[in-house]
Amino acid sequence: MISIEGLSKIFTSNKRQITAVDDLTLEIKEGDIFGVIGYSGAGKSTFVRLLNRLEEPSFGRIVIDEQEITSLNSNQLRLARQEIGMIFQHFNLLWSRTVKDNIAFPLEIAGVPKAERDKRVRELIDLVGLTERENAYPSQLSGGQKQRVGIARALANNPKVLLCDEATSALDPETTNSILDLLVDINQKLGLTIILITHEMHVIRKICKQVAVMENGRIVEQGDVLDVFLRPKQQVTKKFVEQVMGTNDEDEGVNHLINTYDRGKLIRLHFIGETTNQALISEVAKKYEIDINILQGKITQTQAGAYGTLFVQIDGEAGEIDNAIDFITKTSVEVEVIRDAN
């Protein structure tokens, strides 16, 4: 769907060259929600603006839906842009236009006749849940509502790709969630490919299937969101995972657990994304003659299922405990015995 090869952007200011995006190569599949995460200055915002050439690439090739964006002339680029939606951190709505007229704007640009425009605007207003606010001006809307207008506007011309430049960074956590739900919803309904830039791991966790971590203009780590969560390799990625999972001072915690709970087996369960095991603990407790005591843990939900770790204490007869552990091992949950039964 989107393929990027050797993409670079070099800014020259005061005779100093700054490489904002450095030789980036990437494939994004159709219908994906692809997240790019990085701290400010990592070049992620420049990267997304290169995709529709709001910034001109210094080197490299961008192909979106078999159309080579980097080789278009300015007129062709204008037409191509009509099929690439974009939403922004600060919404960028025209304050002089009502909700309705803001959403109609890209349709005006594309030369859609008035009657058809009105019809499409009504559909979009329903889609993003702004019914009855269509005659309001942006200044009368909350941040979340403004972003809904932004999304409706970006979708007006039925784009194949939606670029989100820090689309939730100016919103409070609750509004962020509702906007993310809307993005997942339109991704599923319309099969739209979404590229999302953020500095919040929470956003990645909640809606992305694929993630790339950017640092100093390069992608330092990339893959399935779950894999990256489970096995973060780079320091920067570990830091982002900690944003969601809390700091990893487990070793200390484990010793404390071993010392405190001296009966039975202590095991650590790794949940890595299968949703079929949601009732695992109660199932094990019913099936086997054992007691399970949940000691510590953190589970979080990603688009591919649950991810996290759980420390439990299993007490009972030795044979029964082993059977229970065997059973868990057969599921997708990984088991790690921290301390055998005394």
């Binding site: 204008r78 842009r81 690439i84 922004f88 960028n92 709505l93 640009i109």
Partner: protein, 222 residues
């Protein structure tokens, strides 16, 4: 009543002069609005990082604007005599004042337009570009509507300078309240005429200010 309080005032001449003042102000204002917006757009679009970024054109336009703003209006009228004569066919009367009024006010308004355009959120312009808008669309559907309240308050300020300019032009025979006050009032030592003309000019200024503020507020949905 007017004749009793101000014995030297010729009511018919006075209304004629008021009409001429309005006539000159409004026509000059229309011309200033159009030319000023053109100048302002040129300054804005050719500036650094503008859509038509062009150092050379920007420098030329800026130079023209600065030169004409620097010339005192009364001298500008005199300098423009040959041009006015060529364009209008005379150097007397309200019509002959128009070229000088417009050339005097448009550069000033052009700067105000430039400032107004600079205040338009860059993000909105960028959003329009990302939607695939033509430059024409960006100018007429984004830049001008989004800066309209500032464009209107700018033209209000300019209108008030223009009223002052018409009075100055009057002194060298353009007609209007300035002309009337100077030739009929000041020259003949009939100061009641000067007084009434002054009051009327002040009233006209107030009217323009009020209308400008009203429109600007109505348009501002921020």
């Amino acid at each position: 009543m007017l004749t009793k309080l101000f014995p030297n005032l010729d009511v018919q001449d006075f209304w004629m002069a008021t009409y001429e003042t309005f006539y000159m102000t409004l026509l000059a204002l229309a011309g200033t609005f159009i030319i000023g917006i053109l100048l302002g757009l040129l300054l804005y679009l050719t500036a650094k990082d503008g859509i038509w970024q062009n150092k050379f054109i920007n420098m030329i336009v800026a130079a023209i604007v600065n030169i004409f703003r620097a010339i005192p209006f009364i001298i500008l009228i005199l300098l423009l005599f040959p041009f006015t004569d060529f364009l209008i066919g005379t150097i007397r009367g309200p019509n002959a004042a128009l070229p000088a009024l417009i050339i005097g006010a448009a550069p000033f308004y052009g700067r105000l337009v430039e400032i107004a355009l600079k205040e338009v959120d860059k993000g909105v312009v960028e959003a329009a570009k990302a939607m695939g808008a033509k430059t024409k669309t960006i100018i007429f559907r984004v830049l001008l509507p989004e800066s309209m309240p500032a464009l209107i308050s700018g033209i209000t300020v300019t209108a008030i300078s223009l009223i002052g300019y018409t009075a100055m032009a009057g002194v060298i025979g353009a007609g209007g309240l300035g002309d009337y006050a100077y030739f009929y009032g000041f020259q003949r030592r009939e100061f009641d005429v000067v007084f009434v003309c002054t009051v009327f000019i002040v009233v006209i200024v107030f009217i323009f200010q009020f209308i400008g503020d009203y429109i600007s507020n109505r348009l501002d949905k921020r």
